[in-house]
C-alpha cells in the first residue's frame, strides 16, 4: 500500500454524481489497485479528556449543521484556519476526524488545503500522492482519484497534491467548488467536509476556501496567537469572504492548560 496504483472504476468528473457507496469504493484506484490508506491518528486520543474535548467541538459543529436555516453557504463545509501558522489547525482537524470514528453513519472528508505546509498529508502518510492541486489542474482526473481511505472507518482524505506556485488560483477556480459539491453528495447528510487550510495571514487561498465554507473554525493557541493577528485575520475574512459573524465563525482555543479544560476526566481512558 505504499505506492499508488491505477484504477478504472469510476468517472465522476463526467457525471458529477457520487454516492456514499461510491465514496466507500474509493479504496480502489483508477487501475483497480488498492490506494494507499491515510493514517488518521492523534496521540493521546486514547485519553478520555482528549476525546471529550474533540467531542465538544464536534457537537458544536454538528449543531450548527442541524440548525442551519437556509444559509447561503453549506454548513457541512467546515474550514479550519487560524491567523498565523503553528497554532494547531492540523491537530484540530485530525482530532475532529478521530471523534467521528464512533459515529456509524458519519462520513468525513479531510482536505489538505494548506499548500504552504501540507502537514495533514504528511501526518496521514499521503505525502506525494495525487491530491487536490492535481485534481484542480487536471480536468481528466476524477474526484475518486484524489480521495483516499484512511485507517478510520468513514474518514476519507484528500491530500494536497504536488505543489504549484499557482495553487491559490487553482483553489479559487470553479473546479474546487465542483469538487466540494461532489464530495458533499458522497458524504451524505451526516457527513462533513473539513478543509485544513493555511493561516489566513500567510495563505491567500484560505480566503478562497472560506467562500465555500459554511462554518469556519478559527483556531487560536493559548499564549501564542496575538490579538492583532486575529483581528487582522478575521477582518480579512470578513472583507473578502464575509460576512463573519457568530453563526458562521467559531473559535477553538487550542493548547490550553489541562486545568482550563471544561472536560473533567482523569488520564485513564
Amino acid at each position: 500500500m505504499n505506492s499508488p496504483v491505477t484504477f478504472s472504476v469510476m468517472t465522476p468528473v463526467d457525471s458529477g454524481e457520487v454516492s456514499a457507496s461510491s465514496l466507500d469504493k474509493s479504496l480502489e484506484g483508477r487501475d483497480g489497485a488498492v490506494k494507499r490508506i491515510g493514517s488518521v491518528a492523534t496521540p493521546r486520543f486514547d485519553e478520555s479528556r482528549t476525546r471529550e474535548e474533540f467531542r465538544v467541538i464536534k457537537g458544536h459543529v454538528m449543531s450548527r449543521i442541524a440548525n442551519a436555516d437556509g444559509h447561503r453557504r453549506e454548513p457541512r463545509n467546515v474550514l479550519i484556519t487560524s491567523a498565523s501558522p503553528r497554532e494547531g489547525k492540523t491537530t484540530i482537524t485530525l482530532g475532529l476526524a478521530m471523534s467521528f470514528m464512533f459515529d456509524r453513519d458519519a462520513r468525513v472528508v479531510l482536505i489538505d488545503a494548506d499548500m504552504r505546509s501540507p502537514d495533514l498529508s504528511r501526518r496521514m502518510g499521503l505525502e506525494g500522492e495525487a491530491g487536490l492541486l492535481d485534481y484542480l489542474e487536471d480536468d481528466q482526473m476524477g474526484w475518486n482519484d484524489v480521495v483516499y481511505p484512511t485507517s478510520v472507518r468513514g474518514v476519507f482524505a484528500v491530500p494536497s497534491g504536488s505543489p504549484r506556485i499557482y495553487a491559490p488560483e487553482l483553489i479559487a477556480g470553479p473546479r474546487m467548488k465542483f469538487l466540494l459539491e461532489t464530495l458533499r453528495q458522497g458524504i451524505g447528510r451526516n457527513g462533513i467536509i473539513m478543509m485544513d487550510s493555511g493561516s489566513v495571514l500567510s495563505c491567500s487561498e484560505t480566503i478562497s476556501l472560506a467562500t465555500h465554507a459554511g462554518q469556519i473554525l478559527f483556531v487560536a493557541a493559548k499564549g501564542q496567537t496575538k490579538r492583532s493577528d486575529i483581528d487582522e485575520g478575521l477582518g480579512r475574512l470578513h472583507r473578502q469572504a464575509g460576512p463573519i459573524d457568530e453563526s458562521r465563525v467559531s473559535m477553538v482555543f487550542n493548547k490550553s492548560g489541562r486545568s482550563q479544560s471544561p472536560v473533567r476526566y482523569s488520564r485513564r481512558g
Binding site: E53, V61, G95, K222, M251, F253, K255
Partner: protein, 478 residues
C-alpha cells in the same frame, strides 16, 4: 465579584507563566551580575573609640573653690556638635587623601559628604561617654581616622578651654592694672590730704581710737590689780613653794603618793603653806595704786581726745571718703588678683592633656570581622529584584503581544463563540516546536548554572579589595 477578581488574577499569572523562559532569561543574568557585583563589594570595617569627659576630675576636686571654673567646664557638647563641620572634615580628608586637595569644589563637597556619611558620633547622654564610629574598606585607615577624630576632639576641647581661660586671665590683668592705677591715684590724694591736715589724719584713724580704748582698759585693769594685790610673804617663800610643787609633780610622775620622798616633800609644802597662812596680811601699796590711777586717767584722756576728734567736721568727712575709696579700690584689686591666680590654675588644669578631663576609655579598635556588606541580605534583595524584573519583562511581553490565556478572553474580545478548547499535549508538538522548547530549556539551564557558578566563585575573588586606595598611615598620622 471576588470570583471575577480571582479569575483575572489567575489569568495574569497564566499569562506571565507562559513567558517563564523570559523570566529566567531576564532574571538569571540580572541576578548573576548583581551577585558578581555584591560578592566583589569590598569588606567594610568599623572602627570605634570611646571618650569619657570627666565632669569632676581628681585634680579638679583638689582645686575646688580655688579654680575659677566649675566641674562642667570643658564638656564636649559644643565640640561634638561642631566636630563634623566642613572645615574639620576637609582637614581630615586631606590627611586621608592628600590628592583631595586638587579636587574642585563640587567633588570636594561630594567627598566631604561621603566622609561625613561614614562617621557616626553617639552623643553624650549625660553620663559623660560618647563614641565615634567610622566605617571604611580599609581597616587600618578606619582605625586611623577614628584616632584622628579622637585627637581632634580632645585637642579642640583643650584649645577651646585654653582660649577661654587665657581670655579670662587677660581680662583680669587689664582690670587689675586699672585698679592699680586708680589705687595709686587714691594713695596720692590721701598723702596730699594727710600733708595738709596732719592732726585729722591721725585722730581720724579708727585704729588710734581703738588703741586708746585698749590702753584705757589695760590701765583700768592694772589699777584694779594694784588695789587688790596683797603683799603676803616674801618672794623667797613663794619661790620655795613653787620649787616644792614642781619637785612633787616630778616625783609623782615616777612614784606613787605613798613613796617616802613624795610624802616628805608634801609635808614640807604643807608646812610652808600653813606658815604663810598664819602670817598677818600686808598693807596695800599706796604708791602702786597711785601710779596705776595716774596711768588710767591719762589713758582716758587720750581716749576722750581721740573720740572727740572723729566727730563732725567737713575735713573729717572728706578724709573718710578718701580713705573709703582707697580701701574699696584696694580690696577690689586684691580680689581680682586672687581671681587671676584662680584662672591661671584653671588654665593649667583644663588645658593640659594630662589633666584627666578627657579620657580615652576605648582606644580605636577594628574588629577582625567586617561589619559589611551584608551579602546574604543583598543577594536576597538582588534575587527578589531580578525575579521581579523577570516577571515584569514577562508581563510586558505578554501585554505587548496581546496573547490570550483563557477562552473567556477570546469570547469577550471578538464576540465570537468558542466551540471548544483543546488541551496541550506535548506529543502533538511538531519537531520545530519541540526544538524551540528544548533550546529554551537548555538556555535556562545554562543561565542557572552560570548564576550558581558566579555565586560560588565570587567569594574567592572578592578578598583584598578596598586596600588599593590606602594611604600609608604615617602620611596622616597626627
Amino acid at each position: 465579584m471576588a470570583g471575577n477578581i480571582l479569575s483575572l488574577l489567575h489569568d495574569q499569572v497564566r499569562r506571565i507563566w507562559l513567558y517563564r523562559w523570559l523570566i529566567v532569561l531576564a532574571a538569571v543574568p540580572l541576578f548573576a551580575g548583581a551577585a558578581f557585583f555584591i560578592m566583589r563589594m569590598p569588606k567594610i570595617y568599623e572602627s570605634t573609640a570611646q571618650i569619657y569627659v570627666d565632669k569632676q576630675t581628681a585634680v579638679a576636686a583638689a582645686t575646688e573653690h580655688v579654680s575659677l571654673v566649675g566641674g562642667n567646664f570643658g564638656s564636649g557638647y559644643v565640640i561634638q556638635k561642631t566636630l563634623l563641620n566642613d572645615n574639620n572634615l576637609h582637614a581630615l580628608l586631606f590627611r586621608i587623601n592628600p590628592a583631595a586637595r586638587n579636587l574642585d569644589r563640587g567633588d570636594l563637597a561630594n567627598a566631604t559628604a561621603a566622609l561625613r556619611g561614614r562617621i557616626k558620633i553617639d552623643p553624650d547622654q549625660g553620663d559623660g561617654f560618647f563614641q565615634i564610629h567610622y566605617m571604611d574598606t580599609d581597616p587600618v585607615r578606619a582605625r586611623d581616622v577614628v584616632q584622628m577624630l579622637l585627637d581632634g576632639f580632645i585637642n579642640a576641647n583643650l584649645a577651646r578651654n585654653r582660649v577661654e581661660l587665657e581670655n579670662a586671665v587677660a581680662f583680669l590683668n587689664r582690670q587689675i592694672a586699672s585698679y592699680a592705677s586708680k589705687l595709686n591715684d587714691a594713695e596720692k590724694t590721701l598723702a596730699k590730704f594727710r600733708a595738709a591736715h596732719p592732726n585729722i589724719v591721725d585722730a581720724r584713724n579708727p585704729a588710734v581710737v581703738a588703741s586708746a580704748a585698749s590702753a584705757v582698759a589695760s590701765a583700768r585693769a592694772a589699777y584694779e590689780a594694784a588695789l587688790a594685790r596683797p603683799s603676803r610673804g616674801s618672794s623667797g617663800e613663794d619661790g620655795q613653794i613653787a620649787a616644792l610643787r614642781a619637785h612633787i609633780a616630778e616625783l609623782r610622775a615616777r612614784f606613787t603618793d605613798q613613796y617616802p620622798d613624795v610624802v616628805a616633800e608634801q609635808h614640807r609644802l604643807d608646812t610652808l603653806l600653813a606658815a604663810r597662812a598664819a602670817a598677818p596680811p600686808p598693807a596695800v601699796s599706796e604708791n602702786a595704786v597711785a601710779e596705776a590711777r595716774g596711768q588710767l586717767d591719762a589713758a582716758e584722756a587720750r581716749l576722750q581726745n581721740a573720740e572727740r576728734s572723729t566727730t563732725g567736721t567737713a575735713l573729717d568727712a572728706q578724709w573718710a571718703d578718701l580713705k573709703n575709696n582707697a580701701d574699696i579700690l584696694r580690696n577690689n584689686r586684691q580680689e581680682l588678683m586672687g581671681r587671676r591666680e584662680a584662672a591661671q590654675m584653671s588654665l593649667a588644669l583644663y588645658s593640659d592633656r594630662s589633666s584627666g578631663k578627657y579620657q580615652i576609655t576605648s582606644a580605636p579598635i577594628v574588629p577582625p570581622l567586617p561589619v559589611g556588606p551584608n551579602r546574604g541580605l543583598y543577594l536576597m534583595l538582588a534575587a527578589g529584584i531580578a525575579l521581579a524584573a523577570g516577571i515584569g519583562a514577562a508581563y510586558l511581553r505578554a501585554a505587548i503581544n496581546g496573547i490570550f490565556v483563557a477562552p473567556r478572553e477570546l469570547e469577550e474580545t471578538f464576540g465570537l463563540p468558542v466551540a471548544g478548547t483543546v488541551s496541550l499535549e506535548r506529543a502533538w508538538q511538531t519537531t520545530g516546536g519541540r526544538a524551540i522548547a528544548s533550546v529554551r530549556h537548555m538556555v535556562a539551564v545554562v543561565l542557572l548554572a552560570i548564576a550558581g557558578l558566579s555565586a560560588l566563585v565570587s567569594p574567592f575573588v572578592s578578598d583584598g579589595h578596598g586596600r588599593e586606595a590606602r594611604v600609608p598611615a604615617d602620611q596622616y598620622r597626627i
